[in-house]
Amino acid sequence: MLRVVLIKDLAISRGERRLFSHLDLTLVAGEAAVLVGRNGAGKTSLLRAVAGLLRPAEGSVSFESEAGPIEADAARAEHLHLLGHQDGLKSSRTAWEELRFQTLWTGGGEASARAAARRFDLNRLLDLEVRRLSAGQRRRLALARLAASPRSLWLLDEPMAPLDAGQREAFGAVMAEHLASGGMILASVHDPLPIPARSISIGEIGA
């Protein structure tokens, strides 16, 4: 389990343009933080930098588990989960094939994939090909893989956008449970999350 995520003096540039600089953020177990800011401020880039997919221009992201600081690569391979704009689902595979693979790939088991499918009300859809699912159903399938795997840091990019009101509430409950069990959430949002979360504004600091 991760205990602390430490973002120190982070700056991100895309091409020649500096999106933001001097960003400091500490996230501890059981805590959620939301990133707010206008379009293009760098919320997605920040999430990808924490996930190690994007190299920051300056600064560092480090991780600590209960046993002390751990290598960023090890943390990324075992402890964090990223859900971007895209759901990362293959349209020609069935919902169950995708959920099962993604759960096993991120360290979960088949039983937890089943439980997550029940949790997100996906049981009727599991035999369907992903191409037959609506945008909201696809997003629920993508969210189910978060709940199914044992990873503690969730990086979410606009996770609620395609969900209806009922599903938002249900996902709020899942997030609250994740936090209660010592998880962490870092999310970029336009609408507020249905859980208590620290708000961090991006793109208005420095230049």
């Binding site: 990223l82 704009h85 759901d87 293959k90 595979r93 693979f101 790939w105």
Partner: protein, 221 residues
């Protein structure tokens, strides 16, 4: 290791099951093998002379076309992010993808190669060597093609770019393999060509995953 197995099975299912799988590559292969004699002239003795060469070159082309989108789909639909955050490094992901590609299309093509060569009138005694060349060469084609596909990630007109990157890399195995086949058919020394080709395959399998991993990381950045 367990994660690698899980990924390999998924990649195999994707390469084998969807969008025609090996059938499409085999059909393409058959088309090229039928077209080339029409261009090269259909006198039986001339065809028999170039038959192993045609069967061999068409194999490289079929491998190339089926590899073009090896990473592109995962890149576009966000799966590559997920694969990058898995327990295995991107280099291992690349190995799984290329291996699955080889099992799903390279190996069936290798079995089709002797049929094509026989149809064109090649001598039956060349067949075992042709299958061996096609299996080993197919492995090299899969890994080098994967390298091209990874380098072309995110570019428009990726298909042409992949071909331009990859075809020069295909030259050595095509030359060595054809040399071994020609030598064997003519009763000349042939093991040298075969050994060189196998060595090239080993090099490609060992080195290209490093480049594929770096290219994928670069595309995600």
């Amino acid at each position: 290791m367990k994660a690698f197995g899980v990924l390999l099975r998924r990649e195999l299912a994707l390469a084998w099951g969807k969008g025609g799988g090996p059938l499409l590559a085999l059909t393409f292969y058959a088309c090229v093998v039928v077209l080339l004699p029409m261009a090269a002239g259909r006198a039986p003795e001339r065809l028999a002379a170039i038959a192993p060469g045609i069967a061999w070159l068409a194999l490289a082309l079929a491998a190339l076309l089926s590899l073009e989108r090896l990473f592109e789909r995962d890149y576009e639909d966000g799966t590559l992010d997920l694969l990058a955050l898995g327990p295995a490094p991107l280099e291992a992901v690349a190995v799984a993808k290329c291996l699955a590609q080889w099992l799903a299309t390279g190996a069936p093509l290798a079995l089709a190669a002797p049929v094509a060569a026989l149809m064109l009138g090649a001598e039956p005694k060349v067949m075992p060597l042709l299958v061996l060349c096609a299996l080993a060469g197919g492995l090299a084609f899969a890994f080098l093609g994967g390298l091209g596909a990874a380098l072309a990630l995110g570019s428009k007109r990726g298909g042409l770019l992949v071909a331009v990157i990859v075809l020069p890399l295909f030259a050595p195995p095509v030359i060595f393999g054809a040399g071994a086949l020609d030598g064997y058919a003519a009763g000349l020394p042939w093991t040298g060509g075969l050994m060189l080709m196998l060595a090239y395959c080993v090099g490609a399998v060992a080195l290209s995953p490093l480049a594929m991993g770096a290219a994928c990381r670069n595309a995600l950045d």
